[in-house]
């Protein structure tokens, strides 16, 4: 961890920098015809969504694994992937309106992609709320169950809202049509960079969570030892 992590940080930093350069400069991704340079936010908007869904998939896998094996590592992986996934999806939900305002003139619309993304965001925020509010002895199991429910719900969300919003013709919004191969190349490059960055954040958060749990356990053990010591002769219970 002490040696590998800084090296990976530097490599990811270089990759992110290169991906940003390619996204923002006309040498990398070509300027879009109708939208101009505003379109370049696309290279942050889409990869953050893809990264978020990758992380939610990992959350589902870790939740299932935890319920089968009851391994604490799986529980920490589930927590970490949900947290970082929610952050990336928030980035997606914020960059969306920022892009939409100059291009479509509106901050938000209830088309199927935006609505579905918002609902998935709500599902995983409720997962994090459960983690926060439940008693610590039960949290891993409850959260694993909630993670599985959330992941099962995502296909329903997409399918139902797709049907709902495509029933009545809406103005065509975003996406659709073919994409210039150079743009696809920069998009995938940014996705790779985001994924590496997500991996690093997850890793350090994992490490932090492990330390936090060790500290909590040490506190618990210590108060237990103090309690038992009190009962030995020679030690008196002090008030308070």
């Amino acid at each position: 961890m002490k040696i590998v992590f800084p090296i990976l940080v530097i490599l990811t930093g270089i990759l992110l920098g290169y991906a940003m350069y390619m996204a923002l400069s006309p040498n990398g991704a070509p300027t879009e015809q109708t939208m101009g340079n505003v379109q370049r936010i696309f290279y942050y908007h889409v990869p953050s969504a893809w990264t978020a869904f990758l992380l939610f998939f990992i959350n589902f896998g870790a939740s299932v694994y935890y319920l089968i094996k009851r391994c604490p590592t799986a529980d920490i992986v589930a927590l970490v992937s949900a947290e970082v996934g929610v952050v990336f999806l928030t980035v997606n939900l914020v960059t969306g309106p920022i892009w939409a305002r100059p291009v479509w003139g509106i901050w938000w619309t209830w088309d199927w992609r935006l609505t579905s993304t918002l609902i998935v965001w709500l599902i995983y925020v409720s997962y994090l709320m459960l983690r926060r509010f439940s008693a610590s002895s039960q949290t891993p199991i409850l959260a694993a169950a909630m993670g599985i429910f959330g992941a099962l719900c995502v296909p329903f969300v997409y399918f139902s809202i797709w049907f709902f919003r495509t029933q009545h013709p809406q103005p065509v919004m975003g996406g659709g049509g073919s994409i210039d191969p150079r743009m696809m190349h920069v998009l995938l490059l940014n996705w790779l960079a985001f994924s590496c960055f997500a991996f690093l954040v997850c890793w350090s958060r994992y490490h932090l969570e492990k330390l936090q749990r060790a500290v909590d356990e040490a506190h618990a053990m210590r108060s237990l030892m103090d309690e038992t010591k009190m009962d030995e002769p020679g030690h008196e219970r002090t008030a308070g």
């Binding site: 039960q138 959330g150 719900c153 329903f156 969300v157």
Partner: protein
């Protein structure tokens, strides 16, 4: 023999008799050996589910806690909605679907919140956990009980809605029964599960809606759209009914598979 237990409306539980159930325990009643061998575990599940369900129904019938609070709450919601909308008969058909289901959703949360609270008093839930009874039988009983309570509420509130909004279904009205049944089941099965999950969390009453609403959004969308489709006859409700049925199937299965784990999560 399956013991039946009675509870006072305030939740004190005591065993009054050990009633013989109809089947499965032939050793006591001298029934033919064939029924003794006939799938004892399934019969045990049915017996416990039935006993718990009847206990809950009896408690509810005597105190009428849940049904009164749900009814009054729905009425309040309808009145508050009336301040925002003053629709013509045509418009009301468009929006009534959403209004009805929002009112029922809030009422369901009221019912679900007290589902498990009753079991926590006097350690009834702990007693159930240490008993050899399968957890799914308790879950099934709770879900069926809540389903009955919410269905009674819906039956009572529907004439009121029809009167307040001058509703008349332009499409096949019998499908509304199907929407009500499937939709209520979707809310109640997930709600009972999440209510069990939030028993020992901080802020128990607020955790239930926070967990339930996001997961239920596809079902709520389907219910509202199906009701609107039937009322306005502008489209077919078939897709939404199929979606509701699939949703019910998937989530009932998940709840049944995971309930025991969640109940014993300590």
């Amino acid at each position: 023999m399956i013991p039946t237990y009675e509870s006072d409306p305030d939740g004190t539980t005591y065993q009054i008799s050990a009633k013989k159930t109809g089947a499965g325990h032939g050793a006591d009643s001298g029934q033919p050996a064939r029924s003794r061998a006939a799938k004892p575990k399934e019969l045990l599940i049915r017996g416990i589910t039935r006993a718990t369900l009847f206990k809950d129904l009896r408690l509810e019938w005597r105190s009428k806690d849940a049904i009164n609070s749900m009814l009054f709450f729905s009425l309040l919601v309808v009145v508050v909605f009336s301040f925002s909308f003053d629709p013509t008969a045509e418009e009301s058909r468009q929006i009534a679907g959403g209004l009805i289901w929002v009112a029922f959703l809030f009422a369901t949360v009221v019912a679900l919140n007290q589902t498990w609270a009753r079991e926590l008093r006097n350690q009834v839930l702990d007693a159930f956990r240490v008993s050899p009874a399968p957890a799914n039988s308790l879950f099934a009983a709770k879900v069926l009980g809540n389903f009955i309570f919410v269905s009674v509420l819906e039956a009572l509130m529907t004439p009121l809605f029809i009167a307040f909004y001058r509703l008349r279904a332009l499409g096949p009205a019998w499908q509304l029964l199907l929407v009500a049944a499937l939709g209520t089941w979707a809310l109640v099965v997930n709600g009972t599960f999440f209510a069990a999950m939030s028993i020992r969390t901080r802020s128990r009453e607020i955790m239930l809606p926070l967990l339930l609403f996001p997961i239920s959004i596809p079902a709520i969308l389907a219910m509202v759209q199906a009701t609107t489709a039937i009322l306005t006859a502008e489209s077919s409700a078939r897709f939404w009914l199929v979606l509701l049925a699939t949703y019910d199937l998937v989530f009932t299965t998940s709840c049944l598979l995971l309930f025991e784990t969640v109940l014993n999560a300590e």
